[in-house]
C-alpha cells in the first residue's frame, strides 16, 4: 500500500470521526478544534508531501520527519495544558457549588427549626471523593 494513501485515509477517518463526535454532541467544539486541525494538517501533508520538506528547510530542520515529531509533541502538550486548565476551572466551579449547597442546606435547616418542621436526612459524604484533598 502506498504510504501517502495510508496517511490520507487515516487523516480522513480522523476527520470524519471528530465531526461525528461533534455532531452527536459527545465532544464540545472547543475540544474538537485542535484534533480537526491535526487531521487537516496530516491530510494536507499527505496530499502535498513536498510541503513538509519545504517547511522543515525553512525552519532549519534537516530531517523533515523531525519536524513532524516536534509538531506532534507540541500539539500533545497544548492539548494537555488545555485539559489541565479545563479541569482547574471545573474544580473551581465544583468548589463553589459545594459551598453553595452547604450554605443552602444550612439555610433549610434553620428554616426547619424555625417552623418546627421535621429535619431532613443528614448529608451522606461520598467516600469516593471525600479523600480528595487539595493538599
Amino acid at each position: 500500500m502506498n504510504g501517502h494513501l495510508f496517511a490520507l485515509s487515516c487523516a480522513l477517518i480522523t476527520l470524519v470521526f471528530m465531526v461525528e463526535l461533534l455532531r452527536r454532541r459527545r465532544l464540545r467544539e472547543k475540544y474538537v478544534v485542535l484534533w480537526i486541525a491535526v487531521a487537516v494538517v496530516v491530510l494536507v501533508s499527505a496530499v502535498f508531501p513536498h510541503l513538509l520538506e519545504q517547511l522543515s528547510a525553512l525552519v532549519g530542520i534537516t530531517v523533515p520527519v523531525n519536524l513532524l515529531f516536534f509538531a506532534g509533541l507540541l500539539l500533545l502538550l497544548v492539548v494537555c495544558v488545555q485539559l489541565s486548565a479545563e479541569v482547574s476551572t471545573l474544580e473551581h466551579e465544583s468548589q463553589t457549588l459545594a459551598e453553595e449547597t452547604a450554605l443552602l442546606r444550612n439555610r433549610v435547616e434553620r428554616l426547619e427549626r424555625a417552623s418546627g418542621a421535621a429535619p431532613g436526612p443528614p448529608l451522606v459524604a461520598d467516600p469516593d471523593v471525600s479523600r480528595r484533598s487539595t493538599t
Binding site: 459545594a98 459551598e99 452547604a102 450554605l103 442546606r105 448529608l123 471523593v129 471525600s130 484533598s133
Partner: protein, 246 residues
C-alpha cells in the same frame, strides 16, 4: 474588653474528620466565649464530625466533599457575609488554638483588617526545626516586608478577619495548598487591607501529630515558596479592590 463584645463575632472551625477533638474544642469555646456564634464547617468528613457538632447546638455547614481549609473557610466567610457578622475568627478544630486568645485577636481588629495569632511572638512554647523552620522564616520575612508590619508566623491558621477582609475573602479565598494562609495574606495586603499579629499560646493538638519528617518538611518548603512566588506575581487587578473599599 468592651470592643470585642460590640462586634458580631463568628468563630469558624473548619473540620475534616475531627470527631475526636471537636467536642472538647466546642465545650471550651462555650465556656470561655459565651454568646459568641460558632460555625463548624464540616469539610466532607467521613466520621461523626457533623453529628457531633449538631449535638453541641452550633451552626453547621456540611460540604459534600473535601475542599481543604481554603474552601471550608470561604464557605465560612460567605456565611458570615450573608448573616452580617463583623468579625470571623478561624479556630482549628484539632484543639491547637486556645479559645481564650480569641478576644485579644478580635480586639486587634480595631486597628487592622486581619489579626494573626502568632505562635512565636512573645509567649507560647512552639518549636519547629529544620527546613520547615527555614521556610517559615523566609515566608515571614517576605510577608512582613509586604505588609509593612512584623509578622513572625504567617502560616498560623489562627486569625481574625474584620468586615473588609470578610468581604474580600467571601469572594476570593484561595483553595490552593497553603493558599488559606500565605496566599490569602498576599491577597489581603494587595487589596489594601492591613495586617497585624498578636502573640498566642500554642498547645499540642489533642489528636494527631504534626509532620516533622525532613523530606516532608523539604517538600513543604518548596511548595510554600512556590505558593508565595506565584501569588506575588499575580496581577492585582484580579482583586475586587473597589468592592472591598466600598
Amino acid at each position: 474588653m468592651a470592643s470585642p463584645l460590640d462586634r458580631r463575632v463568628l468563630v469558624v472551625l473548619p473540620a475534616w474528620n475531627e470527631a475526636e477533638s471537636l467536642p472538647t474544642v466546642l465545650t471550651e469555646i462555650r465556656t470561655h466565649l459565651p454568646g459568641v456564634s460558632v460555625l463548624v464547617v464540616n469539610d466532607g468528613s467521613s466520621d461523626e464530625t457533623s453529628a457531633l457538632a449538631r449535638r453541641h447546638d452550633v451552626e453547621v455547614l456540611d460540604l459534600p466533599f473535601n475542599l481543604g481549609v481554603g474552601g471550608a473557610m470561604r464557605a465560612g466567610f460567605r456565611y458570615a457575609l450573608a448573616e452580617g457578622f463583623d468579625a470571623v475568627v478561624q479556630v482549628d478544630a484539632d484543639g491547637q488554638h486556645d479559645p481564650r486568645d480569641v478576644p485579644s485577636l478580635v480586639e486587634g481588629l480595631d486597628r487592622s483588617d486581619i489579626v494573626i495569632g502568632a505562635r512565636f511572638a512573645e509567649r507560647g512554647e512552639y518549636e519547629v526545626r529544620g527546613p520547615r523552620r527555614w521556610a517559615m522564616r523566609v515566608l515571614a520575612d517576605v510577608l512582613s516586608r509586604l505588609a509593612r508590619t512584623p509578622l513572625t508566623d504567617t502560616t498560623s491558621g489562627f486569625r481574625a478577619s474584620g468586615p473588609r477582609a470578610i468581604r474580600l475573602f467571601a469572594v476570593h479565598y484561595p483553595a490552593e495548598y497553603l493558599g488559606d494562609t500565605i496566599e490569602s495574606l498576599v491577597l489581603a495586603v494587595r487589596g489594601g487591607l492591613t495586617v497585624e499579629q498578636v502573640g498566642v499560646a500554642m498547645r499540642a493538638r489533642s489528636a494527631g501529630r504534626p509532620s516533622q519528617h525532613p523530606a516532608k518538611a523539604a517538600v513543604y518548603l518548596l511548595r510554600a515558596c512556590l505558593a508565595l512566588g506565584i501569588s506575588l506575581t499575580r496581577r492585582s487587578q484580579m482583586l475586587v479592590t473597589a468592592e472591598v473599599a466600598a
